[in-house]
Point group: C2
Chain length 323, copies 2
């Protein structure tokens, strides 16, 4: 059975490399479900993406800032250059609250009908791995399938969404002139990760003031060689300023250069690999016997016989004994 | 030198147990700074708190919801019962953005003048451990010093703030009738962790509708034995509804009972101990030789010779070899 499954994924991998969208969709599902053989699929495709194929674009910002609309306006402009685009809509919604509460997003029909555009929602249904890890893995599938631009779009500004942005080469933070947006962006750490700001709904009267306030909040100690995130006033709904936003994105890409892009790629690989090792080690640490040892140390602390730091040292000593 | 430091902290620990507020303040600084001997301080005090002293109250919600004002109204009501209260204002602000941007919070002068109230801001200045871990450790110091109620107050709704709430027995989520609040609370996972909702600024016309919408969003499949989080309309600024809010908090405490409180205490200890072990193991995993092995695996993946999952397995095998 195992051999059959493996050769099944082998055939899918071959079809994906030839650009078959159904093979891509099936392999994404396999990765999402952590299905049998998904590690082998990643192992087969990951090295093929190391020569640098896809450009990764992150779009984040508070709910209601207009991220989806912006993506729908931006993607056709990459398409006009003949680039194939994969869109990953990343939703860290918990299984309890359910994604449907916020309503299904309405995507431009022209995008859905375009064979050069692949759209997929990613959600962590349950606890099978983190969303950012999954987004990274799926982007590898898209890259191996020959997509030139990969867009990571998030629905909010939580830590998970910030983590997803670590997979991007260029991060666009979408804000509106509403005062709450800037504060949220500040607290969420978006100022630190933004390469380009899109001040959406720029037809609102407070837009200029909001842009100025944002400008002031940006890191004041920047040196000349550093990239200074530009603030672009746009209106995604009215399709205004999108061209200039795209120019700013391209400028950031040029600023990174081949060396910068290679460095980002390697940093992502490093983080991914560390996480794989740590997760496996954690699984081994808290297996049945490790959990039993943990329980007995907890009992000792509750009885007042032991402190937690000493208990931790003893647990590590036990773990390092050959079993 | 080491002996001197240890006996120095021994004297501070003794003074803290006698209720000396300066000893408490100095030991909190030691824990915040991860100063020499801080583990021994926690080890000495942690077992003393296992018989169940302090009641832990968490106050969270979006920025601007009125959390600080609510705490300032609530605490005097615990004081009138003769209870000593420790307030930990937890701010996960990054070192870059700086806490001062949002302005210093203005606390009620009467609280500051009250010897039965201890107020402290906690921030992770740099990367020395997580804020939730620090909040847990500092609450142990407060408990050992004889405080009856410990209030964890956060400034936003990020993942760090949710993690801080795991230290609380009862979590109050503060919202306002603004529509953005409920969506933020939903996305941040606050609906799942709330034991009591405080709908603040209830004099606003949309308050009733917001409370109803929240009611509808709450878990529909609750069974009779389960605690159903009540929604209290309050006005912290006008000191209205605070008494009923406190009643709801007391009802939740009674619902937990001695057994529930003990269980929460043990769960916190378990999470704390696991984290201590995992952090130490991670430090050992990525020491100089572990990092060198990681680097060589990354090179192999970049050269296309290796997949990340196989690389992770090989790194673990190396780690488990006796060195």
């Amino acid at each position: 059975m195992r051999t059959t499954q493996t050769s099944g994924t082998d055939a899918l991998v071959a079809a994906l490399l030839e650009g078959d969208p159904r093979a891509l969709a099936r392999l994404i599902s396999l990765v999402e479900d952590r299905g049998p053989g998904y590690e082998a699929v990643i192992d087969a495709l990951y090295p093929r993406t190391q020569t640098g194929g896809a450009y990764r674009l992150g779009i984040t910002g508070p709910p209601g800032a207009g991220k989806s609309t912006l993506v729908d306006r931006l993607v056709p402009r990459f398409r006009r250059e003949g680039k194939r685009v994969g869109i990953l809509a990343c939703d860290p919604t918990s299984p309890f609250s359910g994604g449907a509460v916020l309503g299904d997003r309405v995507r431009m029909q022209s995008l859905r009908d375009d064979e050069g555009v692949f759209i997929r929602s990613l959600a962590t249904r349950g606890s099978l791995g983190g969303l950012s890890e999954m987004a990274h893995e799926v982007s590898v599938l898209l890259e191996a399938a020959g997509y030139d631009v990969i867009v990571f779009e998030t629905i909010g500004v939580g830590q998970v969404e910030i983590d997803v942005m670590e997979s991007a080469d260029t991060v666009v933070v979408v804000l509106t002139p509403q005062s709450g947006d800037a504060i949220q962006a500040l607290k969420a750490g978006l100022l630190e990760i933004a390469d380009v700001f899109a001040m959406n709904k720029a037809d609102q009267p407070e837009a200029d003031r909001a842009a100025q306030a944002l400008q002031l909040a940006l890191r004041p100690d920047m040196t000349e060689e550093m990239w200074i995130p530009p603030i672009l006033k746009i209106s995604a709904l009215q399709d205004e300023g999108i061209e200039r936003l795209k120019d700013a994105i391209e400028r950031h890409r040029a600023h990174l250069g081949a060396r910068g892009l290679r460095k980002k790629r390697e940093e992502r690989l490093r983080a991914f690999l560390r996480r794989l090792v740590e997760e496996e080690l954690r699984r081994r640490l808290w297996d049945a016997s490790g959990t039993a040892l943990l329980d007995s140390q907890i009992e000792r602390i509750v009885r007042g016989e032991q402190g937690p730091f000493r208990a931790a040292r003893e647990l590590l000593q036990e773990h390092e004994k050959p079993r």
